[in-house]
Amino acid sequence: MTPSPYRLLEFVVGTYDDLDRPLTPADAATRFGMPRERADECFDRLVECALLARIDDGYRPTITARELLELNIDDEFVVVDADLDECDPDQQ
């Protein structure tokens, strides 16, 4: 079953902390039995949301990702706007 990007983010944070090494889309594809292409898309999306950062040979979770998971929110609907230059100044 393909997990939601939110569940995948939980996996990346947990595994990164356990193994102390960067994660790759291949790790997620293996763990969840999901197509590699879908894992690539999810990682790219999480980078766009400033939740993952690319490092040498993989990805690591950002402080933003940790803060997002700490919110303990209902994960049904999550939009992350990291491009605040595009925002209405009144909304910032």
Binding site: D74, E76, F77, V79, V80, D81, A82, Q91
Partner: protein, 196 residues
């Protein structure tokens, strides 16, 4: 409630209210009418008396359209609903991806995200961003809370609508009781447009 309490005429088709998800009850002692989605054991009561379930409606009603209901009751146009349906189960998503999927402008997506926050269907949180600054996160509120809030919100809207209809009926009564030189339509619109 006995068979004698029910309406004599057999309702049919869309006017038949007997097998609906909701129930409408009327008091036989006063003019109170209530709407409920969940009957209490023993039925609804008004000043201690069991109310009669209304089994048919004498006026033709149009089936509600969900887009129009959301727009009228919550001021939520279709793009707001589209955004919800696009993101559910797919997040976290950036606004750019939502905009691309729905073929909307990014500013439109942001405007409706903030509208959904204003309505109370989403919460907005600010998180720290590495390297400085912050990001905005739009996320669902608790599902049970959202269900309750939307139902109560809709009931409040329906109550306002019912009060308007009641006021319209009173306006007609008042017109018939008085000796106006203007037509009823002039009196009617003058009353409601000045109040809006």
């Amino acid at each position: 409630m006995t068979d004698d309490d029910t309406t004599v005429n057999e309702p049919a088709g869309e006017n038949d209210l007997r097998d609906r998800q909701y129930g409408i009850y009327q008091c036989n002692d006063c003019e109170n009418v209530v709407l409920t989605l969940q009957d209490c054991d023993g039925g609804m009561t008004c000043h201690g008396q069991v109310m009669e379930r209304v089994t048919d409606v004498n006026i033709d009603i149009q089936p509600p359209d969900v887009k129009q209901v959301l727009l009228d009751a919550f001021g939520l146009p279709k793009p707001g609903l589209d955004i919800c349906l696009c993101v559910i189960g797919e997040g976290p998503m950036p606004p750019a991806d939502v905009a691309e999927y729905l073929d909307y402008d990014e500013t439109t997506v942001r405007r409706y995200l903030n509208r959904l926050v204003d309505i109370g269907l989403l919460e907005k949180s600010q998180l720290n961003r590495e390297g400085g600054g912050f990001v905005n996160v739009y996320h669902s509120i608790d599902v049970a809370e959202m269900r309750r809030d939307t139902l109560i919100g809709f009931y409040a809207w329906a109550g306002e609508a019912a009060a308007l209809i009641e006021e319209a009926n009173l306006t007609k009564e008042e017109y018939l009781d008085e000796d106006y030189s203007e037509g009823l339509n002039d009196i009617f619109w003058e009353k409601f447009e000045s109040g809006s």
